[in-house]
Symmetry: C2
DNA sequence: TCGCCCATGTAAAGAGTTACATGATTAA
DNA sequence: TTAATCATGTAACTCTTTACATGGGCGA
């Protein structure tokens, strides 16, 4: 996973490991986190497999290692990108907790849910700030899909907040979902 | 994570590893998957830590190992259940792909998104079947929270399908989200 | 008797986290 | 000068997946 993402970040230009980390945080960071402890070994593996080449460019007394994608790496990346999108991926820790909430005392339950709702609201704020940042930019058609993931995050967070509110008030569950007609 | 879930499943009665696997599939399975390869070692760890005790009850020529939660295990479980619910958990593989879709040829992109939408629709059908199964049951108030996770799954999957359709048609992204007024 | 579900496990490999360890540059 | 950020990495650990290995019970 991280290997594919790292390759993707290197599509357009050569980057250092640190750059890649920043790009992940600022871009895909909405739904994916990477640590240095996983990133640097991943870059090493990719280099060993021949997907990347490195060039050390000392700037001042500081070592900087730029990674460059090979043709083989490019193929690998597009293979991943074109591979099937089945569902089922993310395990949701919080839902797992809620699943057992019937066994929890009402006050704590109430408090946990409110906490979760607030965390989601804060997160939504961050996402909306991001949205605003991109809103004024030109050539948005060049990164429609990149942006679409941000909007996905916003949608889902909004729904999650609605859901929290709904079950905090113990409203009827079937009212939560949309019935077609 | 899996350890906590296994403990949760053992709250009410003693179960075998196999039982726990089934319970996870049928309950929390909406958003969490566990394999035997992770479950059995997890149960072993929990036993070593003193959270579980085991009792072998051979039934016929078949060995069956029932797990029973100790008081210590119960405490551990409720500690987990009461621990903070921050956000950020699930890495979403598919979103990671979509993030790079600007670099993909339109036809493949189109196809992948449609594929994803269809997978989500199939998944939604499964969830709605589950919903129907629970719909007729009595004492629904005893598992309101358990059920709420199913409804969460339905909500989110519906939103995801909407999002797929929206971006497949390349509609304006800001129209996706709800603006308060 | 054949296939499916029940039932328990191990081994190898993969992926990631956290903490540690080091040091340079830059802006307040 | 000091704190933040830039920059790279390792080590130990945890968790999980996939594949393998074994065998009983049961219904058609």
């Amino acid at each position: 996973m991280l290997e594919s993402i790292a390759l993707g970040m290197l599509l357009e230009r050569d980057l250092t490991g640190y750059d890649i980390k920043k790009l992940i945080e600022n871009g895909i960071g909405v739904f994916y986190k990477a640590s240095f402890g996983s990133l640097y070994p991943a870059l090493k593996r990719l280099t060993q497999k021949g997907y990347l080449t490195t060039s050390e460019k000392p700037q001042g007394g500081r070592q900087k290692i730029f990674y460059h994608m090979t043709e083989k790496g490019r193929e690998e990346f597009f293979d991943w990108l074109s591979s099937p999108m089945d569902i089922f991926e993310g395990t949701n820790t919080h839902l797992a907790k809620v699943y057992f909430f019937d066994n929890l005392e009402p006050e704590i339950r109430e408090q946990k849910l409110l906490e979760y709702e607030i965390n989601n609201k804060n997160y939504l704020s961050k996402l909306k700030d991001l949205e605003k940042k991109f809103d004024g930019m030109e050539h948005k058609e060049c990164f429609y899909y990149k942006l679409s993931t941000l909007y996905y995050g916003i949608c889902i967070t909004q729904k999650t907040i609605q859901w929290c509110r709904h079950i905090r008030m113990q409203k009827a569950l079937p009212d939560l979902i949309e019935r077609e007609r």
